[in-house]
């Protein structure tokens, strides 16, 4: 709970049960099978047991893993006794693979055959996990990007020591050496000191390449690193222990006996250890000999100078490269390694020496070669340690705690800081500590986040929604109340969707904000209209056999501008299909919304040229010249593009226009004191005459005493001539200050009829 989160842990070999060490006493031919043999096996207790096997690599006296009756192997495989071709077998002799291992773990064991144990101190009947060291517990930590120092056993040990308040015991490597002088054998030049802050090298001669000892292989395997050979294993071991990536070159392939650290030339190539030829460019730092690059700095070594079985003399590299440079190179080459992952977070130039010393110490410990005296050190690093004043009062106030300066100093010293007066000297391995806020985090971590009290923010505040947020709530409530379900769609779409809604090729809406690195074409541009998103969802529901559906979404369109960012214009998008819906049910929803927002006297115009909609069933709504939106029956060809087999209706209204045009101030009108006079009329007119035109004419002609006019019937058919329609209106007149006389109402009606007459609408007899 002090920082590096334990992601989990597992016990090695926990999937192996009841497998023990046994010794082959005798091997006899199976009476009924040519390919099987019958072994008597001493398992350290009682009578020897009989086991039938098909293996051919065994001789009497071999010590082997024995899976007993009722045992479990990796992968959940159960072993029980049984008869093989009529002969009783009391278990199974195991191969490497059957125990979940490979030859990298046990180089002397054969790949296809029973694993013969060559370890010392084996006891018959011993649990195999103990016998072969498959019993470590591995803990997995989540290391945050600011803590490259914790990418190492030593770093975690330091954290653990501070957390549990235990002394930190660090080992200092000691190298005996074997004479000679590295400076006579090798020269190192760093041409780009800003990219390579420090480069250290040591050499080992008379190298004997062989598998590393079991303890080292076991530890590497537990850390998820494949054992290779003693030299490569040492470099990996040191990286895990110290957090310092190491590299080993075969000296005989360092041409000119000189290492140059430089940026690559455009067009230079290297074949890396993973056997891939990679093109380099001048932004990449390489380690080169006089012929060319032998390693990509901090990322991966070259195959040419890699360690082989005949390697005799090696060069250990322990360097500090610029993190950003390694990160960019690794990205460009699409090659991320344990090494680059560490470098890119920024490593400590002080760490290169202990790491290379440790590697040489391990060489001597393993008897892998003779270490040449002397160290090459090209050091261009900034050695000045950062200082931050300790401000206990500020820290206490910032965290809301009260702890003493002494306690703070104690914590800081635990993590490697040194106090000089009031200044904290920051250790080189903690480049993340830059500011007193960083210091406060260290104090908080080791004091304990859980011990920080829980308080309320001082002062009071009133939270409130803005007018726009309240407006959106009203819109949403109104649409929900009318039975529409809210949906949420992706705001990026495919440019092909514009074809699906039949947008003309030259439409400005096809100019959209385009994603440089999209996941796929389907999500590659930011939509400039919300209609395709709605239609997509209608289609999905139709295909999922939902009989009818009505949806709305309040979400933006992204319209490019001359500025750096697009306009994100919020839209109210409606869509519906199914038996209950037609053009007028959609329009009704829109009208109700406009009514709730108190937007009155808006214009509705037929639109015949919107390619997404039915040319005879589409309308534009606007007020005072400002467009509010469009609604209509979706064009049959668009429906076809979406695979919708029924009529569907959609509308798109600008939330901005609705917001601006809404009437936010509501005023009370006194309830009427005087009675209203009602008049109904039916007029005959051309079928093409829009009722809204008539309504407006009526309103204008009737004057102020007209309280309300509503359409109550439209009739075509018998008694109405072809091409005509009969339209019935109900008018209601009222004055606020008096009872209207019949004469007044008659006069108004006369004007109404005259106005209608001018439109070609005549009173029906």
């Amino acid at each position: 709970m002090s920082g590096s989160k334990v992601e989990g842990y597992f016990i090695e070999g926990s999937d192996i049960d009841n497998v023990i060490v046994g010794k082959i006493l005798s091997i006899e031919k199976h009476p009924d099978a040519d390919k099987l043999v019958v072994c008597q096996v001493d398992v350290g207790a009682g009578e020897p047991i009989q086991i039938v096997t098909g293996a051919t690599n065994l001789v009497e006296g071999d010590v082997v893993p024995v899976a007993m009756d009722n045992s479990t192997l990796p992968g959940g495989k159960k072993i029980r006794k049984g008869k093989l071709r009529g002969v009783l077998s009391n278990g199974m002799l195991c191969s490497l693979g059957e125990l979940g291992l490979t030859q990298h773990d046990f180089p002397n064991a054969v790949e296809d055959g029973i694993m013969v144990l060559d370890e010392e101190n084996l006891r018959l009947g011993q649990d195999i996990r103990e016998a072969i060291g498959l019993n470590d517990t591995c803990v997995e930590f989540e290391i945050t990007s600011n803590r490259p120092d914790c990418f190492s056993i030593i770093g975690l040990a330091r954290e653990a020591a501070a957390t549990y308040d235990k002394p930190l015991k660090l080992h200092t490597p000691v190298v005996k050496g074997s004479g000679g002088d590295i400076h006579e054998l090798l020269d190192v030049e760093v041409k780009n000191p800003e990219l390579c802050m420090r480069y250290m090298a040591r050499m080992v001669k008379n190298v004997k390449i062989e598998p590393s000892p079991r303890w080292m292989r076991e530890r590497l395997r537990a850390c998820g690193v494949r054992p290779i050979n003693n030299i490569v294993d040492i470099t990996n071991y040191v990286m895990l222990e110290y957090g310092q990536p190491m590299h080993a070159f075969d000296y005989k392939y360092v041409n000119g006996k000189k290492i140059t650290v430089r940026t690559a030339q455009n067009g230079e190539k290297i074949t890396t250890l993973d056997d891939v030829e990679r093109g380099l460019d001048e932004s990449m730092l390489v380690i080169a000999d006089e012929k060319g690059p032998v390693a990509v700095a901090g990322v991966m070594g070259g195959e040419y100078s890699g360690i082989m079985d005949d390697t005799d003399t090696i060069v250990f590299e322990s360097a500090c490269f610029n993190g950003v440079s390694v990160r960019l190179t690794s990205k460009k080459l699409a090659l991320r390694t344990e090494s680059s992952g560490r470098y890119e977070k920024g490593l400590d130039p002080y760490n290169t020496l202990p790491a290379v010393e440790r590697a040489c110490e391990l060489v001597e410990l393993l008897g892998a070669g003779e270490v040449v005296d002397g160290v090459i050190d090209v050091d261009n690093s900034d050695k000045a340690l950062r200082r931050i004043p300790l401000e206990p009062d500020w820290i206490n106030r910032f965290l809301g705690i009260e702890i003493s300066r002494e306690r703070m100093v104690q914590i800081l010293e635990k993590i490697g800081c040194v106090m000089e007066g009031d200044d904290i000297v920051i250790p080189s391995f903690r480049p993340d500590l830059e500011h007193k806020a960083d210091i406060s985090e260290e104090i908080a971590r080791f004091y304990g986040y859980d011990k920080i009290p829980v308080t309320a923010i001082r002062g009071t505040a009133q939270g409130h929604l803005t007018d726009l947020q309240k407006f959106e709530r009203t819109v949403s409530d109104t649409l929900l109340a009318q039975g529409l379900y809210e949906i949420m769609t992706y705001s990026f779409i495919s440019p092909k969707y514009y074809d699906k809604i039949r947008l003309p090729a030259e439409s400005p809406l096809r100019q959209c904000v385009t994603i440089q690195n999209p996941l796929g074409e389907d999500t590659s541009v930011m939509r400039t209209t919300t209609l395709p998103s709605m239609l997509e969802i209608l289609a999905k529901n139709y295909n999922n056999r939902n009989e009818s559906a009505a949806f709305f979404e309040i979400s933006p369109e992204y319209i490019p501008t001359d500025g750096p960012l697009p306009d994100e214009n919020s839209q109210v998008t409606l869509g519906m299909y199914g038996e209950a819906y037609d053009f007028f049910s959609l329009k009704g929803v829109v009208e109700e919304l406009l009514h709730v927002l108190d937007i009155e006297d808006y214009d509705v115009e037929a639109v015949s040229d919107n390619p997404t909609f039915h040319p005879g069933r589409c309308a534009k709504i606007s007020k005072d010249g400002r467009e509010i939106g469009v609604l209509g029956e979706v064009h049959p060809l668009v429906l076809q593009n979406y695979g919708i087999g029924v009529k569907a209706y959609a509308a798109k209204l600008s939330a901005g226009a609705l917001f601006d045009l809404r009437c936010a101030d509501k005023h009370f009108t006194p309830l009427p004191k005087y009675p209203a006079t009602a008049r109904d009329i039916a007029v005959l007119c051309d079928d093409a005459l829009p009722v809204l035109t008539m309504k407006k004419a009526i309103q204008k002609a009737a004057g102020r005493i007209l309280e309300q006019v509503s359409l109550f019937d439209v009739y075509k058919g018998k008694q109405v001539p072809e091409g005509k329609k009969s339209v019935a209106w109900s008018l209601s007149f009222r004055a606020a200050d008096r009872t209207l006389t019949d004469e007044e109402t008659d006069r108004a009606m006369k004007k109404v009829l005259k106005a209608l007459d001018e439109l070609g609408a005549t009173l029906r007899a």
Partner: protein, 339 residues
């Protein structure tokens, strides 16, 4: 005559009692009380009586009239009442038949929970802020102490529009925009869509929602951060929720923490919901990095603050037991209908 009057009364009362509808009653009234009725006929014979008898009989006649009128009214009432009873009986419904409904639509489950979160923070004095989704690299990264080539950029796979413009990977840029515009005290949450180039699967979506929070004022402490978020969690998950704050790292907060809430299914024992951990990671938070305050023109010596951010989808998935994030964006009616 006296006897005649008594007899009329008796007869009228009997007939009225037997009458079965209003019409019959009306006929009886005409028969007994009408101008040519039986009572009138008797009264017409009053002239034959002596002066002593006349007032006595007159009085009696009036009594009889009143009685008959009363009986008519009473019988009328009775009949009305029984008629109503019959009507009601005939109108009896099978009340177990389904009602007529005008179905409402439903909010998207993400909105449902987001509204709840907003209510909680509005109650704690927070406003709700918004910012652009197509955002400048500066606001999404640089002003948040994530310079170009910072390794933290790798953990947020970013959609780029051009070198300087991204689809915001987090709602944190709204913090910067709010601080640039508004002087402390600041208390805002900023919910919204964010984008990361994660391929779509049951737990990943290239578009999802975050809710950001920011408080800046004089003397805001980490203890305030803990207090505020603890109240939030208790409102969201119940008063008995247990939370813990765990050190973490975010470039724009220092100290940084992750808040875990004890698994409400197993109370810390470890189960499928919490993947055996006993705790569920809910949000990231921390004290606003002094560098970020400075970049936004707020003096970190005078003011301090805290910030937090959480993913909405995961909260909603756990709330309703939804196992596939894709359902949120497929918008199948059969899914939307459930909330």
């Amino acid at each position: 005559m006296k006897e005649a009057l008594q007899s009329i009364r008796q007869q009228a009362e009997e007939l009225l009692h037997a009458a079965q509808d209003m019409k019959e009653i009306d006929a009886l009234r005409v028969r007994f009380l009408g101008k040519k009725g039986e009572l009138t006929a008797i009264l017409k014979q009053m002239g034959k009586l002596s002066a002593e008898e006349r007032p006595v009989i007159g009085q009696l006649a009036n009594d009889v009239r009143a009685k008959i009128e009363g009986a008519i009214a009473a019988r009328n009432e009775e009949l009305k009442a029984s008629q109503l009873d019959r009507q009601l009986e005939s109108e009896k419904l099978d009340v177990t038949m389904p009602g007529k409904r005008h179905p409402l639509g439903k909010k998207h489950p993400l909105t449902l929970v987001l509204d709840e979160v907003k209510e909680i923070f509005l109650g704690m004095g927070f406003d709700v802020a918004q910012g652009p989704e197509v955002e400048l690299d500066y606001y999404n990264f640089e002003a948040l102490n994530i310079p170009k080539n910072h390794p933290a950029r790798d953990t947020q796979d970013t959609f780029y529009i051009d070198e300087n413009t991204v689809l915001r990977t987090q709602t944190s840029p709204v913090q910067v925009r709010v601080m640039e515009k508004q002087k402390p005290p600041i208390r805002v949450i900023a919910p919204g869509r964010v984008y990361r180039s994660d391929a779509v699967d049951a737990t990943h979506s290239p578009l999802f929602h975050q809710i950001e929070g920011l408080v800046v004022d004089k003397d805001v402490t980490m203890a305030d951060l803990k207090g505020t978020l603890e109240v939030f969690v208790k409102r969201l998950y119940g008063e008995d929720s247990v939370v813990r704050f765990r050190p973490h790292h975010f470039p724009f907060t220092e100290p940084s923490a992750e808040l875990d809430v004890q698994c409400f299914a197993c109370h810390g024992e470890g189960c499928r919901l919490c993947k055996g951990e006993g705790w569920i990671e809910l949000l990231g938070c921390g004290m606003v990095h002094p560098k970020v305050l400075s970049i936004c023109g707020i003096d970190p010596e005078e003011y301090s603050g805290f910030a937090f951010g959480m993913g909405l989808e995961r909260i909603v998935m756990r709330r309703f037991g939804i196992d596939d994030l894709r359902l949120f964006y497929e918008n199948d009616l059969r899914f939307l209908n459930q909330f």
